[in-house]
Symmetry: C2
Subunit: 398 residues, 2 copies
């Protein structure tokens, strides 16, 4: 998986994560180890992946194969320069891997949508009538997306408390376990992307935490959707896994009934079997796995998200992020947000250290992890973690 | 007012609109007419205004004053180079004036919000409970914002027709008359902008048409807000008027009752008396003024929009666009959208050429105009028009 890092006095550059180390691709390239790939080494010395991504899918694939060959035990091609090009992660500072143009957040996790419906519209059908016809989504805020390990400040804002409009630090700060798709190819404005080409527009995937202030969101979101309840920060992994790496884990998604309109019908399975989990670390340092779920629980596939996003002509650009929305399973310990895990605060989550959580406390950290494994073939693809610690709210405003 | 243009073989550069002409600021600067302002001429030779804006408000003001002096009759300073530096608009191609990071669309027009409430929730209070407490907004799509005169293709999409989920060209394509604020200064993530500093973060304003497909929007927007109903295109004027130019037109806004929370209370009036109108030109070329309204009808001031947007810590960046939402007055001919003018299609608008409109037809053009005038002091500030013509939908998808 690819990321942007710097170390010592070196400027930001592109790297590949290899266990505890990062392979410095600018150095590898400058030292001539990319042979006849004919890529300008400058492309590996950028502060974001965008220029590399813009070289196109055949180049991503060639570079990916070449790096795998360099890393394979048999060749030990990099043995002579090992100490030079492998940087221990402890020496590195990670950066946001892409310059993000626009960020879209979907609502593709059907069990999450059902849970939210059950909580907020208890007397109605959990899913709204449009849910199974189109991937519901809203535009999010790109400027406030931060790289993993950036602390997240608890937002202040307006919410209703005891029937009064109140201003103060959010009392219902939450995480959302999501995947983010990094767009790898642009489509011109006005030209929809057909679903069977849609995956060619994905460079790779990351873990994504769409922090949410549920009280702010609840008060503000009618009729135009979430705004300040979401835009104070979203956290993205520093590492992007090429979609190709996940090919062995492709699976059928859930049966879609009613059948979606033709522009959302794909000729191949579009889901991926990726185990996901959320770890809550308290201020005291104890760690608690509070959620275990899987990307295959999403209702809509990645390809469907892209086909829908562009069917009216909207243009995607390289580096854009499409997040899936919260991924929950059906079991109570598979819910991807505290809103669901504590059932809107009514059923506090008991942690093993004896403490309880409805929503996040100052000093809590959330880490999301992802892993695809196929024991039969000995395959294992880890996603890059995303973590973030909650800082207490500013006190300047009232 | 400032814009980006090119002509003949010249690359895009910054210009000032002077009647039918554009003053080429790169040339003026290279020829030494910016005297001791000490600005790198390269800043005027960029394809967007962002680098100029980044120089900061004191520089905007100095350049603005200097250009006014150069243009004043008394000095005729540019007489010797007049033919060189004044380019007739007919020779120029205009470009999107800023590189937009994020685009936010507010709902600050209270009469618009009331009209929408009356149409869609006829048995309830027209305004939702949050409306007078906070400026409702949603994040929009930045990638599909186009400069004035770019044609706009009618989107295809899903909507309900006779109780059936249908796919096809939108049957309810609309315009929205809005103002766009161009952000002139960035705030760090996590640092709210106090309301009395908020106007310092505005570089200037433009006319903005947030094209909307009402049928697509209506089917998709619950529960997360508008998405494909809005993101197929928004049109922005090629010209940005510095906020300072509007200072003589500052007025008190409507009484805000209940009083907003302290972070939304300003020490000075924050509204501007700007006459606005929308012209519909049919395919046959006849022009019809279908709306006359005024920016002073907005409920929330520009400063309130910025203070609210950032109160939870969201960071604004230079070049971001904050649009006001549709600006309607109270009179039926002051409504800033066809949704309101035709009362959701139930009262077709009769045009002077005998034709009628519920929503836009292929070949229709919409032009938005703005003008601030003070006859007593002989002041007159025109905003840059924004116009766009509707193209028929693609026929490839079904």
């Amino acid at each position: 998986m690819y990321g942007i890092f710097n170390y010592d006095i070196a400027s930001p550059r592109m790297g590949v994560k290899v266990g505890e180390y990062i392979l410095d691709l600018e150095l590898v390239s400058l030292l001539g180890y990319f042979g006849d790939l004919n890529i300008d080494p400058a492309v590996f010395a950028q502060p974001v992946l965008n220029d590399f991504i813009a070289l196109g899918k055949p180049v991503w694939q060639a570079v990916n194969q070449h790096i795998k060959a360099l890393l394979s035990d048999e060749q030990a091609a990099l043995a002579d320069i090992h100490d030079q090009v492998f940087i221990h992660q402890s020496r590195a500072t990670m950066h946001l891997p892409v310059r993000i143009g626009d960020y879209t957040d979907f609502y593709a996790g059907i069990h999450h949508a059902e849970n939210v419906g059950r909580m907020f519209r208890p007397d109605a059908e959990p899913l709204l009538p449009n849910y199974r016809h189109l991937p519901v989504a809203y535009h999010g805020r790109a400027s406030s997306i931060v790289v993993s390990e950036t602390p997240v400040r608890r937002p202040q804002g307006q919410f209703m408390q005891n029937g009064q409009v109140t201003f103060g630090p959010s009392q219902a700060l939450d995480f959302e376990l999501e995947l983010g798709l990094i767009i790898g190819k642009s489509n011109p404005l006005g030209k929809p992307i057909p679903i069977d080409e849609a995956e060619d527009y994905i460079f790779g995937i990351t873990l994504f935490n769409d922090w949410s202030a549920r009280d702010i969101q609840r008060w503000e979101y009618q009729p135009l959707g979430p705004f300040l309840g979401k835009n104070f920060s979203s956290s993205m992994s520093a590492w992007v896994v090429p979609l190709d790496e996940l090919e062995p884990f492709r699976v059928e998604g859930p049966v879609q009934e009613p059948a979606p309109l033709p522009y959302l019908q794909s000729s191949k399975p579009g889901h991926f079997d990726i185990q996901l989990e959320a770890i809550l670390q308290t201020k005291q340092g104890t760690e608690h796995r509070i959620c275990q779920t899987n990307a295959k629980h999403l209702y809509w596939s990645f390809a469907q998200l892209i086909a829908h996003h562009t069917v009216g002509g909207c243009n995607l650009k390289i580096g854009d992020v499409l997040a899936t929305g919260t991924i929950s399973g059906t079991a109570p310990d598979s819910f991807g947000s505290l809103l669901e895990l504590s059932w809107n605060g009514t059923q506090p989550l008991a942690l093993a250290d004896g403490s309880r959580r409805t929503f996040l406390e100052d000093g809590d950290s959330i880490t999301l992890r992802g892993l695809a494994v196929d024991d039969e073939f000995g395959l294992r693809v880890e996603l890059g973690d995303v973590s973030g610690k909650v800082l207490s709210a500013l006190q300047r405003f009232s």
